[in-house]
Symmetry: D2
Subunit: 366 residues, 4 copies
């Protein structure tokens, strides 16, 4: 295959838009072949000054304050890095223009809206991927491999907590507004871990939940959720976005009848593997036999150096570039169907919390 | 106060009865004053050979295979270390004889039976304590102090998991038999953490749960429980007794608006304290300012040496001896009321799991 | 073998004397057969009030302020828990009376004096053991087993640091006085790790060192030592007794051509085992297959509970009791020959530091 | 300041040359202003196929197999990523052409050669920096800040170990050849930690050492070094390059009279801070107040994500670009004087090991 170029438009120059810009630039310099260049054509952002600053830093060719004009450019890919309530309209416009879609998570404020986005995209036959980027962390892929290969036996438990502190910018953010964001902590943080459970173990079939909110009129600040996965495993999702003692604490542990594996977001490159009567083994997922090894540099001693978050983000970017360039057909990236299904779980969690009942997740058909 | 002697009878010479014997012997040699001698008068155990062996090792004066004769001895204290379904009858017999009671946990197979034991004891006016021994681990007492003194702010989350592997002796044990043991993992393991939540944070007011069992006809092997505590905090109890990758993994984390503290049973003497923007601080709870320091040896450099599980058990024994000798009136030890209330939570968890509903815990009055 | 009783006299009721008293009492209640009772006959201590207090707590039958009278009692064992400069005279008096010897470490302030003590003891044909108690920590015995069984291949490196803070009671202690204590940090702390290197890997054959002292006129506060062991391995001993940030930090790591094992004193029951390309595995040395398991209670799930420092001390006491009662002939306990050889290494370290030369350790013959 | 462009030639397309290429590309996309573009003009590499592959991946404009032609290009900066014995000639040629120099570490196989390179560079008045990249790890800069601001009191100890496994490609590599590489483990690994000691604490004034080699005729495979720093602190450098159990274990611990800080290479973003009676606090060096924060993305919750090794390498690249573009005058990067002084320490270590003497490091004047 020869080198390729993917023409990109993006909505949103805030934190996450900057992260995508950086990652798209970095992804050019992977050792994977062929090289795929992200051609950053046009950046749409309501704040014109921010747009100029970000465009200058990452060499976007054009900026606009009106995302509606994006489809008028010749683009291969649209990155939707705007707030949740803008996902649908901008995705639909791009899909109508035949542009491939890469949309931030959660896919939409509600499961219904997420379902619509998914179906629209399928109708227009364009590429659709949702940025559940945990799938591009080597440790997560390695956990999935362990599960798939039966290393842990039959999976009995998935437990996770995702704790951080948004309270400083808190109540003023669109993230706290039910209309704009949809769910709160369970939608913003929990959705990542729900997707990991699905990616690594299996679909969520039933949930029960309690939620709490410390901010008057805001969506949920904290939730504790129990769930059943499709293989019968029990799961716990414990999320809190106003947890000031926790910087950025995302923990996942998966237990099976023959072993267990755990991961902590702040120790991005490590998994802790437990086997019966063997204690806990910390494995640095940076060696030649590990997923995504050799992506950046040749393996070996120095290839064992730790990776960072931005690099994992760039793993995702390279995957999306490969799909958009037609050079990949398979990919670990979440589709809009995955995005919809996670949203359906989140909505069911809120209903379970409201009703005090355990509820089966009722997925809509494709 | 002068040295004292407490005359003791015990039912059960199995593992836990041996542990009590050892701890009662050790507790004689604390630096706390006065010295209280455990006079191990009579040991009741159905297996006569085991009784003799254990009596010889720990210098019990008499053995019997019939626990019914215990009240005929002159005793100050009865230790009930028999299986759960024998707690009630033996406790009642001792209470009638005016003997103080120290009973293993859970107090009974069901909340109703636990309630009866409690009320009988109160009616006879005898000492009653239930062996939720986590309360005598210095780290747990230190966590409680942090919470009480407001170091963590308002508590928002209690999360715990208790995972181990009973599968080797599994299905043959009385612990797997609903009639003899009552609940399974949630009663045997979960009850410890439920009591810690109550001891350190506050009462459990509402629960929701899912359970699983891998053994046909047995009680629950695993449970995932969400709960609300009386201050509004959300709690998670995650227990599994057939989790072969986990040797003895009991973890507790308590989050508040100003800090967090975590503890892991295998690292008995450590707590991990998190404060906003300060990372995670591991404190060894073995210094002069810590609970129970100086119990065994003078503090200082070498007083900072780690304590073991048996020593924590002996902390409990010394407390019970002090109560039985009339030299202590206050104590951190769980009463039979605590024992009943934990049992009520456990029964409500099972009902919540069976009905798929969130249920308020309905405690019976004293 | 039938139960036994060992009649004991001890010099010193300070911290370490209290620790021996406690451990001797605890050692009675091991599951090892036969039961051996420590008969605590007479305690010699210059401070009569302290002697009475300690005697009352641990049930010593007699006290004296004159250690010279100890040999007039009928004793099987003399525990020398006095300061280093009193080791020789009291040991000699006991040996002359045919009493077995168990002496605190270091054996003497100088290698010459240690040699004399050893030779005197041998001449009188009495039991001689030196309290290098690290040998009775299950994790240390487990490390030794790994080395002996070739699990780590050929040993290439031994590295250790022993850091704590004696600065509060510092300069006033006899430990800081060269005449009374001999060497400072390298004698008090370093000697433990030197003995562990010898016990686990092999004899020390050559040393090089730098030392520092923060206290005018005192012996060494800190030392950094490189050494060669008899198999060619390189070793590092890094000690500092005025290191206020370190509570009680004793770390040992042993590397070989096929693996590595590490241990940290504050995590007494854990070793970290590294094998090529397998990461670092934390093993809790509390399972049935581990050294000293079952000493206190039957193995199994609850036998996996962590042990404490006092319990390891009691492991040592039981061993010494067994030797004194004539029921053990082999033992991991250090002999006075070991005590002398460690002292010879310590003296050579000081000479190496003084001369700026690497020096071969010149052991005197038996 | 306006955006700038730095024209670069490089010798060496092996692992380290690829790493520089990647880092120079990444450094373009920092948030630091102005943007500085690395113009990768010409890559010299003896293996023409490798040169083409690397040039294609990182968009070098020209390749050559003859490094002698580099100075014929219009260049601002020469990166010397060739083997140690080629550092001098290529650096001299570039310096003569007035090109700034950025040379891999160690600066040369011997201290004499390193001294010559430094003096040549100074004579020609060109930029000179040596790639001791640890200086660009935020955690290392943070440790330095703690020391400088007196947070740890007076520094008493620096201890480090650097252990990894080069045995697979071992004996065939130029790194094992004394003529080409100079020292072995102490030059290749130890030099990093010697430079960190100098950067964070102070100059090395005296050393003592033992070395070992497992490969016939090769330079040192392992060394254990004790040292004194200019403030009187004791230091240990413990290095082993054939240590198969250790993937990439670089550990540094610095103790002072008021605190201690430790760092482990595999946990790149963490330091462990100990203060008296406060236990050990793990701080993730990724928050707004930390060094180099905001380099890549705006701070805040998500700015707290972990960084990787490549990103730290790019921190260094941006610094070198800033210096070469004349936009920075101060910099944490090591100069060739630093490179020489480290080489002098390394040579003194080898002499100390050979002679069995402690030797003062005799630095040559500028």
């Amino acid at each position: 295959m020869s080198d390729a170029r993917v023409r990109i438009g993006m909505l949103g120059a805030g934190f996450i838009g900057q992260m995508h810009s950086l990652a798209m630039r970095s992804a050019r310099y992977t050792r994977l072949q062929p090289a795929i260049e992200a051609d950053l054509v046009v950046l749409a952002e309501a704040d014109a000054g921010l747009a100029r600053e970000v465009a200058h830093r990452y060499q976007w060719r054009h900026t606009t304050t009106d995302w509606g004009v994006l489809p008028t450019h010749e683009l291969d890919l649209f990155i939707n890095a705007g707030p949740n309530h803008l996902h649908r309209a901008a995705c639909e416009a791009a899909a109508q223009a035949g542009i491939g879609l890469f949309c931030e998570k959660p896919l939409a404020p509600t499961a219904d809206e997420a379902y619509d986005i998914w179906r629209i995209t399928v109708r227009h036959g364009v590429l659709h991927r949702c940025a559940y980027m945990h799938r591009f962390i080597p440790a997560i892929q390695f956990m999935r491999r362990l599960v798939r290969e039966g290393e842990l036996g039959e999976i009995t438990n998935f437990r996770s907590s995702f704790l951080l502190d948004m309270s400083t910018d808190g109540a003023t953010s669109w993230r706290f507004d039910r209309a704009k964001a949809g769910a709160g902590a369970i939608g913003d943080l929990g959705s990542h871990h729900i997707d990991v459970a699905r990616f690594v173990v299996g679909e969520v079939v039933r949930v029960s939940a309690m939620v709490a909110s410390r901010h008057e009129g805001a969506n949920d600040d904290a939730a504790v959720v129990t769930a059943q996965l499709d293989n019968g495993a029990l799961a716990v999702f414990d999320v809190n976005r106003v947890s000031p003692a926790h910087d950025l604490s995302g923990r996942i542990e998966i237990d099976g009848t023959r072993g267990s594996v755990a991961w902590h977001m702040q120790r991005l490159n490590e998994v802790v593997i437990r086997k019966p009567r063997q204690g806990a083994r910390t494995e640095f997922v940076t060696r030649p036999e590990h997923p995504l090894e050799g992506f950046w540099l040749p393996g070996g001693i120095q290839g064992s150096h730790p990776l960072g978050w931005n690099e994992c983000f760039a793993h995702q970017s390279r995957d999306i570039l490969g799909l958009a360039a037609g050079q990949l057909t398979e990919s670990p990236a979440a589709t809009f169907e995955d995005g919809y299904r996670v949203a359906q779980v989140v909505d069911t969690v809120l209903e379970a919390a409201n009703t005090g009942r355990s509820i089966a997740v009722d997925y809509r058909p494709s």
